[in-house]
Symmetry: C2
Subunit: 423 residues, 2 copies
């Protein structure tokens, strides 16, 4: 690679709101999205909520001349909804499906059935290795009483962990998607602190779009304005995040969002706003990752956010175990009821009543069994994430105990900037 290497990367991100039968004017919006992407000819278009594979196939056909490479990330029962269109050949791809993703009995929310995931694409651009990630985290339905908070924190952690473990040879990391997290939310801070990713909206000097970079705005006719009442400008939950490892630097030249209207025809492309970023990657002299300088201190942002996440997970583990125990008692009760009913049915007298009650009792037993099983699995998933967080926190503290000289040796292994070691 030449020392004056420079690369301009135009990226598009949109949560497409493509729920078959439910999302308004889906077909028309998909058509206009395809036209817009063809016209703008981005390097990469990363989409969420393309729930129907037919929609993906439609876009694939439509975008083929401009974006010859594409991939649809399949997972769960409905799918992850994630897909990507690229002007450059996709060298490799893989995905990670989040361990926790809501509750199967919250059918009206539906997230559990989706198999929410993070997808990874590896692209080689003029000798530069780009790892592009696309994701969509669990939705937030009630910010005051958010029963999915712990699940979203675990998802943010798994996302950060997945990026950490799969991007060790990447020169540039790009993450786009709908995080369903406000910028100051625990999950968002955890993700940024652990990976060192930078927020295009905060970094760019040239921003055009909705106020405060919001990606769900009341001006959008598809948005439920009642839900946005506490946030007059809207909320910022969709992101373009990036970083370069030592030897490269990356900056966001321009960032644009749509503003509740289609950029050309006036009608919005989705209930979310699209993000359009122009990134610039350049060679730069190798340097230490700045995050390592503040990493191990007890009151560093990383350590503090890890501790906050651990407290959140502790509560969630206790709650999951409470539900499992409760379901366990119901199972016991159901078994007892069944035994009584069998005795009554055998003894005559109230036989008909006993027979009538037998099937609901079996139903109760099976239902309680399912709840027990689910919450046991939830507790396991939470404990797994907690163990990972504790390990990272422990390593951070060990490093602190050994003094600042030992930081690079012990701690850099956990930082994305570990590539600096072999530069």
């Amino acid at each position: 690679m030449k020392p004056n290497f420079s690369l301009r990367l135009r990226v598009f991100n949109l949560n497409c709101w493509g729920i078959p039968y439910l999302s308004k004017r889906r077909g028309d919006r998909m058509k206009r999205l395809g036209d817009f992407l063809n016209l703008e000819s981005f390097d990469l278009a990363l989409l969420q909520e393309v729930w129907s594979e037919q929609d993906f196939q439609y876009l694939r056909q439509k975008l083929l001349p401009t974006y010859p490479s594409a991939h649809y990330f399949r997972s769960g029962i409905i799918g992850s909804g994630l897909c990507v269109f690229s002007k450059h050949p996709i060298q490799e791809f893989t995905q990670h499906v989040y361990t926790l993703n809501g509750y199967p009995y919250m059918i009206h929310h539906g997230d559990w059935f989706c198999g929410k995931a993070v997808g990874l694409l590896v692209l080689h651009l003029g000798g530069l290795v780009l790892n592009a990630y696309v994701t969509h985290l669990h939705a937030e339905y009630n910010r005051q009483k958010d029963i999915y908070l712990a699940h979203r924190v675990v998802q943010a952690w798994e996302l950060a962990h997945f990026i950490h473990h799969t991007s060790k040879k990447a020169d540039v990391v790009l993450l786009c998607g709908d995080l369903n997290l406000h910028p100051k939310d625990l999950g968002c801070r955890l993700l940024k602190e652990w990976t060192g990713l930078q927020d295009a909206y905060l970094e760019t000097r040239d921003f055009k779009g909705s106020e405060e970079g919001c990606t769900m705005v009341p001006e959008n006719c598809y948005v439920n304005r009642k839900e946005l009442q506490p946030f007059p400008c809207g909320i910022r939950i969709d992101y373009v995040l990036y970083k370069a490892v030592s030897g490269f630097c990356i900056s966001c030249k321009t960032l644009k969002t749509t503003t509740g209207l289609d950029p050309h025809s006036g009608s919005p492309l989705s209930d979310h706003e699209a993000l359009m970023a122009t990134l610039c990657v350049r060679h730069s002299p190798p340097q230490h990752n700045p995050s390592s300088t503040h990493g191990p201190a007890e009151n560093s942002p990383l350590v503090m956010v890890l501790r906050e996440a651990l407290t959140e997970l502790d509560q969630a583990v206790a709650q999951a175990r409470w539900w499992a125990t409760f379901a366990g008692y119901v199972i016991g009760l159901g078994l007892l009821l069944l035994a009584v009913l069998c005795t009554l049915a055998a003894g005559g007298g109230v036989r008909e009543v006993a027979i009538l009650l037998w099937t609901p009792s079996v139903g109760l037993l099976l239902g309680a069994g399912a709840v027990y099983t689910f919450h046991m699995q939830e507790a396991k998933g939470l404990c797994k994430a907690r163990a990972e967080l504790q390990h990272v926190l422990g390593r951070a503290r060990e490093t602190q105990d050994l003094g600042p000289e030992s930081q690079p040796a012990l701690f850099l292994g956990h930082q994305e900037g570990s590539r600096a070691e072999d530069q």
Copy 2:
């Protein structure tokens, strides 16, 4: 790192057969395993089927002086059963839970409830980065009519893919575990061809142990000899596999297995045999990965095994869709039955019969719904793996079309030896 760098690594692997209440003499075997591991003081002990977390905690306490680092990989409802004890500090760990792992209604087999996974540990040994993987794939219950074959092939593929994406900065890769695959089985060939991992049993010049390196032998008193009848020497399904990237070389100095007897007391440690390998890692001049020379040709082992796996997955996708369609028809029938019963119940006459049949009909409907949902998810998982295989095969063919000169540029990105690029 010094140019004459050399590292000796002693590794222990065992499927511990630690099923609470079911496995014979579990407590005694765990105690003897702990004593043995303490006495031998390996660098790494990688265990499978430690289903009870209490057993792990017992071993952790017992092994603490010799193996200060340990990790238990939690997943699924029961757990992955995987754990590891290390003499050296574990720098990082993560895991991947396999997308497909049997059927929930095959309760007597139980694999679905386990959350079978691959665990990764990153160790730094004298400047060398070692990625150690431990895994346990779905069991094979009937070799003649193996309904889990496609799931095991997908697991082997995901294992290879996970290793590929997480080991790009590792100097040495080690994989131990119970693959439930014979050496010539499709999954085993796929894993070896795609990752370039070498088999300690085939590579070592100093092997001591059971005939043909078998890890389930009829001499073991816990083994069901009837099941082993077609294989008089036993079967080899547990492995120590390894590779070094360019700049290092790795060899297996010695490999031992137990032979159906505890090495000291005479009674076996498990129904599987333990593997004990002494590996030697040395610096070596950077060189091209030999697998890249035969990678892209249409009749290369990699291309052939990819095509074989694709054929297997095509059949499995068709079967999963057949089951989903069948369950769909049952759902339709159940709904019709319910409607008829409601009409009958409202109309009088056979009201009691109608009420009696109502609950089993709802049960039928729910059951069919669950079967439909499960097989739709199975089809999605199979399609995901198929898309990954097709992509790799496509890239291999592209490389072939462009001639041998372009091989390193296009194809090495898929080979573990891609580290050679920046050496």
